[in-house]
Point group: D2
């Protein structure tokens, strides 16, 4: 349940930790993810945040999908940056959940926020006895 899916693995996304309602994932910004100015395409930052969100909302057991998400791009990420996405559950109600994800990168001056993401999850099925 806590594995990062194949699509995320192909981008080099690693799951660093995961516990109930929480997950941390990281990804290095590769050549294929940047434009001519070495700035990462925002879509890859979204992908990283979305992966951390998926791991966090599925950490409770029932199969849960992303229903919607909002992302605000705070600062540019550049080729070679190691991005870390930290997802935390904000609230759950019925089959729905809200998760906040902050993506940051390390700099000499400390951690800098790259993006803020809010994901809306929905439980789609209850797993059976065999899981």
């Amino acid at each position: 349940m806590f594995d990062v899916d194949t699509a995320s693995q192909a981008l080099g996304i690693e799951l660093v930790e995961a516990e109930r309602g929480r997950a941390v994932a990281r990804m290095a910004v590769r050549q294929a993810m940047v434009n001519g100015h070495d700035i990462a395409h925002g879509g890859y930052v979204f992908l990283l945040a979305d992966t951390a969100f998926a791991c966090a909302c599925n950490s409770h057991g029932p199969v849960t999908v992303a229903a919607a998400a909002e992302i605000t791009f705070v600062a540019a990420a550049r080729r070679g940056d190691l991005l870390v996405a930290t997802a935390a559950e904000r609230t759950t109600f019925g089959r729905n959940g809200i998760y906040d994800v902050t993506v940051h990168r390390s700099t000499q001056a400390g951690a800098e926020v790259v993006a803020e993401f809010r994901g809306h999850s929905r439980i789609v099925e209850q797993p059976g006895p065999a899981g």
Copy 2:
């Protein structure tokens, strides 16, 4: 100005058309974009929508970036699907713009909406005379 960036090209995203405030881009869902159930990772759907948005908001000339975006996942996209993202300007004010992007896929029954995306753009510089 209307070229899809390298990061998008690497995913096989093609720009089908672009005019002032409008753009259409398409992408086939590849093996590397799906999970074990052949469902596309939502992040790739976002990437396609975000690319169409970027082409539309940059079609006016000044260099414009994505400041924020919201996406609602309407239906699952599957391996082999050809996804088409259509971006249209909704309004502009000052250096800001709002663009709506619909992502759909073709089915035997017609076009089916896969995702609805709203992008918020911001002009970051005015190109110079040679720009």
Copy 3:
């Protein structure tokens, strides 16, 4: 089904038209809705947009509620402005719907957009035969 609710009536909101998936509502900006600079509190602009959204998404019959909404404030509304909110269905899927609402005001130079709103609806019950 098409009546504006009591809470909206108390603000002077009028429903101008409503048809399947679409609604237009209007409201004058009153003294009680503005701050010391005669600028309308954004919450009242939201209330107007939300009312048009509710009328549009309930126009299909089944009782439908607002599950979520995003609003972007484009320009300030002032005391005495007549605001008009136009809601249109963007897509529906299962029990869910997405509606876009534009709020504008009339000026001597023509209509000016005050806010863009996107509402997410959810059907909560099917009305019975008498419903």
Copy 4:
């Protein structure tokens, strides 16, 4: 700077506390805010959250406005409920800020979340020396 504006006062909104980047406001759900089923119009819940957001983002000094906001309605609020909105700064960058606001109501079983709100602020002017 920390005063709730007139428009909010007219609804009975009180500012409970405010410090740098944080604010708490409360409002009782009145007869004029509910529909025929005694359920509060979501717009009033938005107004309360938006007021707490405005107090939090203006607590730093420079005049700051709401540029955009998203709200998710988690549970219905009813006539007579005392709603409490707690706003906290999430991040700031340049002239922009992101604030998260949770609205809850007290029940016999404890606090229940009514809505989650995320506000996007923008500094519009720097106050002068007399500021």
